[in-house]
Symmetry: C2
DNA sequence: GGCAATTAAGTTGTGCACAATCTAATTATA
DNA sequence: TATAATTAGATTGTGCACAACTTAATTGCC
């Protein structure tokens, strides 16, 4: 197994920089929507499933309350989302789209198209890359479960 | 091209979570060395090339001085590195390993082995995945250069 | 040689990311 | 049915990551 202690031979380094550079690509695309990359991910979830509770949202994004609480606060200041306490269980907080938040979806529709264009990648390659990343995560989780 | 506005279909999301989860895996492995993941990357570079200047270091890691300055300050507090101003160009600062920093390399040797074991991945797949990630970065840079 | 433009680091401010801790609501159980 | 354990969310503190700005050294150009 590749064990040489060299930066470029570490898969972690390649993942880390690829992720950072892709995020950098999003920045100017998301700027007109007044969203950071993480905020965009939250909006993606809400456009898919409105009135989701913070717990589930955190699980889908692998983010804990220490990250989500202030992030959601900023989305509220932008008037894109609102919090409603669940009636059946007063601990839960449901996150909902405001009319502005719902309307933003239309502008966001073109984000993936722009990114694909920038990556200049064909469908088959795109799918292969997605599968690789999903496989890496599966291996990480498999280990996590062995350990738990 | 995949343009559906769904979280799981975005390559950016898969990259982002894969990177985060892999970094999470490193945390307990690096804890005994008193290093965060980013600090570990800096040490990797130094073990490869001692007396590197901050500018070059930043280029290799895609990090700017705003990130590196405080990070290096913490590595100095740990007595792993020291800064020396270059004599030929007083603007440049060379980063060097202290004896402790050099000694740490031995403990770090086993880090990639542990990670490989956790990922439970064979050499061929590992190499294929590395190449995909490098290709993604190449596409991102190709776009960057078209735009510049 | 003198001065504008450039360059390397550092600083400040904002926003993640996460561990650890706290509070309040709910569930389990003695 | 009290009370202990668990759960959801918020808060605090540390450390990235990066944009924008500052300072000091160097280079370019006249």
């Amino acid at each position: 197994m590749k064990s040489s202690l060299t930066l470029e031979h570490q898969i972690c380094f390649q993942l880390y920089t690829a992720s950072k550079e892709l995020t950098r690509l999003y920045r100017p695309i998301l700027a007109p929507l007044n969203l950071t990359y993480s905020q965009y991910l939250v909006m993606l979830v809400l456009w898919e499933e409105d009135h989701i509770d913070l717990k589930q949202l955190g699980e889908r994004l692998t983010l804990d309350s220490g990250t989500l609480s202030p992030l959601v606060k900023r989305l509220m200041q932008l008037d894109y989302v609102e919090k409603v306490r669940a009636t059946d269980d007063e601990r839960r907080v449901l996150l909902s789209l405001t009319p502005s938040g719902r309307a933003l979806r239309e502008q966001a529709e073109e984000v993936p198209l722009k990114v694909s264009g920038m990556l200049n990648i064909d469908e088959a390659t795109y799918v292969a890359y997605m599968e690789m990343l999903i496989d890496i995560k599966a291996r990480l989780r498999a280990f996590g479960e062995r350990e738990e």
